[in-house]
Amino acid sequence: MREFLFVATGVCLAYFVAAFGAYALLLVFAALDNAISSRDARADDLRALEESRFTIPVSVLVPVYNEAAVIRHVVAALRDLRYPELELVMAVDGSTDGTLEILRADLQLEPVARFERHIVDTKPVREVLRSRVDPRILVVAKENGGKADALNCALNYARYRYVCCVDGDTIYLPEALLNTMRLVVRDPKSIVGITGHIAVAMQPERLTVDADGRAMVENKLIANFQHIEYLRAFLNARLAWSRLGFMLCASGAFAIWRRDLLEELGGFSTEYTCEDIEFTFRAHEHLRRTGVDYRILSTPQIAARTEGPGTIRALVRQRERWQRVTLEVIWSYRRMLLRRRYGVVGFVGMPFFLLTEVLAPPMELVSIVTLVLGIAYRVFDVRVYAVFLASVAMANAIMTSAAILLEDISTRAFRLDHLARLVVLGPLEVLVYRPVLVWARLKGFWRFLRKERSWETFDRNPRLASR
């Protein structure tokens, strides 16, 4: 048993060193990308882009399912997007909570005979409605078919060359489109996709800013840890992926795609638990295989605030689903792994996902079991283990602090004392938050093995009165 425990400990240590090493390496590239992007954004002239009739128009596709609690705020934010020419195509996916009725009343919807270009098969459309108060808005009421089906339906009605896929429960910042499309207009031939930084909040429609307009972090631990996690995901990881050419997950909450690519690939797949990561993988696979020169980018500027789970139970459900879909997609596209034709995606992106997504849950499980057995058989000295745990916590804290620094450099959005709160929470994450994620990932891994595809409903956080 002692020998087994030593070997298992060695394997776990090797895994953690490799994973941290990969993240540390990514951090270097992320910092480089962030520095360049921030300087570039400061030098750019968004006013000219906003006022020019030559700015590429965008169709914003909004899948909506039972969003009665937030839909008014979402529509208001989308209507406030600063952009010279856009249309909002909202696909109401068989909502049963009165979402369509709210839209009908607020937007003064009237039936219109607008025929779609039938690009992708979807569930039947019940009604096509146009807003009397804002002619840019088209609402398509359809039978329930899931988010991918709703996006495909909206795509059939979209008219412009770029489509921006958003969530029906996310609040968008007015500059979201300008901050991303400013890069697309410079190189529309090769930029086929671009995504922005998504922030998380318990109630995204409530703006929490101080008198100087500086954002404040929320006064809830579960919100703070998610905030840290999103910062690390979007700034430490995605910026580096973007810089290195393997941006493998354009978030479904805000992803702009060139429509011809979506059409060529047959739209979003309804076969997977989530559509966003699958389409990003499919785009890379197709474009690499066909030898097309392309770029899929991520920007550090915040595009939107999305609602994060407010309870541990909801958090576990969400992360379990994310883990499951990541595994589904990696398994489906395993042919890209270490294949020359797929270049950096096959040789760097796929191994990175394998290391940090596929191997992580079993390795985390093995390390916990090893720890318990090691203590039971008195193989480990508890003090040595405490030192090890402290080292992991500090390494994690360094990553967190780096993400917070990158965030501050690129946006200067948050109050310094509130950022300090997040820095202080960094080392505690391993002890308080990480175990929950480990549990969720293990559940996700198990349900992936059982080939489950379900999507449980997301329970909205209780609403406080808006300020």
Binding site: R42, A43, A48, E110, P111, R114
Partner: protein
């Protein structure tokens, strides 16, 4: 930065606050395009007065990535502080090998909008070393027209396309230049000419649309339809109707929009189309008749005159040709007895799907 300036309301007070800031902060304010231009300019002037030679040197060249971004920041500072001195430096930046430097120069010249700046931007548009749509954003002004006119004879299709897109036929010389481009061998240029005429509208737009309505390229036909629509000449409706049968969705859509724009004058040519062999044409005709309010008007008349059989037949033809969506929309557009009449006609139809 906002809280430092919160209490400074006049330019003099703001300048006093800015003078107390550290050089690094001041540089950040002066070089950030997102900051209020007046405040940036005040900060830039303070910096330029302190060390003009160093700033000019930094704005003129770079050797590596770090120096490049410093050069881009300094270009803005110099441009805001001293326009005359900045112009030759910006001209040199326009021909730099690095696209980011060229882009910075384009933006600064675009913000400047002087005749010299516009001339430099037009040169840059012609040489194509930076995305032309970005440069065009700053040339979309009447003042740029004299600089753009020579580009209509440029050998490159792309350059003629941008000349056609940016010129407005509101002045005679620009109208003549654009009319000359209507026979351009490049379909993109012809489409751009139509778009420019359509933006202004009137007889010239209708005439140029009529001339290009049978163009072999589909997007030229689509723009020709839009030009006729915005031209407002009801005599040209019969030219648009055949486009409802076009093989391209975009052309059919453009024709429908143009016919709807021409309003009731299109009705007499659309009614026969309701029985056309082509399903797209039937649908399109029904949609336009709905959009112009013809279906609602006929239904109201039919409700008043229930014995008018030909009228009921015509409404039935429109509803059948349009299918479910047109029927739903038609019902939503009317009330009372008219709605009842329409509902009855829909019920009596043997098959509500037309396509």
């Amino acid at each position: 930065m906002q809280h430092w300036l919160r209490d400074a309301t006049t330019p003099a007070e703001q300048e006093a606050v800015l003078r107390r800031l550290p050089r690094r902060t001041l540089t950040g304010i002066a070089s950030d395009a997102r900051v209020d231009r007046a405040i940036s300019a005040a900060a830039a002037l303070i910096l330029f007065q302190r060390r003009p030679a160093l700033l000019l040197q930094r704005a003129s060249a770079h050797r590596n990535e770090a120096e490049k971004w410093r050069r881009i920041a300094t270009l803005r500072i110099v441009a805001l502080a001293d326009r005359e001195t900045a112009l030759p430096i910006l001209r040199r930046a326009l021909s730099d090998a690095d696209e980011d430097v060229v882009g910075a120069a384009v933006r600064l010249l675009g913000e400047e909008q002087s005749d010299d700046a516009l001339a430099l931007l037009v040169e840059s548009l012609a040489d194509g070393r930076y995305p032309r749509s970005q440069i065009a954003a700053y040339l979309d002004t009447e003042r740029a027209a004299p600089h753009l006119l020579p580009l209509v004879d440029h050998p490159a299709d792309d350059v003629r396309f941008w000349a056609a897109s940016l010129l407005r036929p509101s002045a005679l010389d620009a109208e003549l230049a654009l009319a000359g481009l209507a026979a351009d061998p490049s379909p993109r240029v012809r489409a751009a000419v139509l778009k420019s005429f359509a933006a202004v509208g009137g007889g010239a737009s209708a005439a140029i649309g009529r001339d290009l309505i049978h163009d072999p390229t589909w997007f030229v036909r689509a723009q020709a339809a839009r030009a006729i629509g915005s031209g407002g000449n009801p005599e040209l409706v019969h030219r648009l109707v055949p486009l409802l049968r076009d093989e391209q969705w975009w052309v059919r859509t453009a024709a429908k929009e143009a016919l709807a724009e021409l309003g009731p004058s299109a009705e007499h040519v659309l009614v026969p189309m309701l029985r056309d062999d082509d399903a797209f044409a039937r649908n399109g005709a029904a949609e336009v008749l709905l959009e112009t309010g013809a279906v609602a008007r006929w239904a109201a008349k039919a409700a008043d005159e229930p014995d008018d059989e030909p009228l009921s037949v015509m409404i039935g033809a429109a509803l059948r040709a349009g299918g479910d969506r047109v029927q739903q929309a038609a019902l939503a557009a009317v009330t009372g007895r008219t709605r009842q009449k329409l509902a009855r006609l829909i019920e009596q139809m043997p098959d509500s799907t037309s396509t």
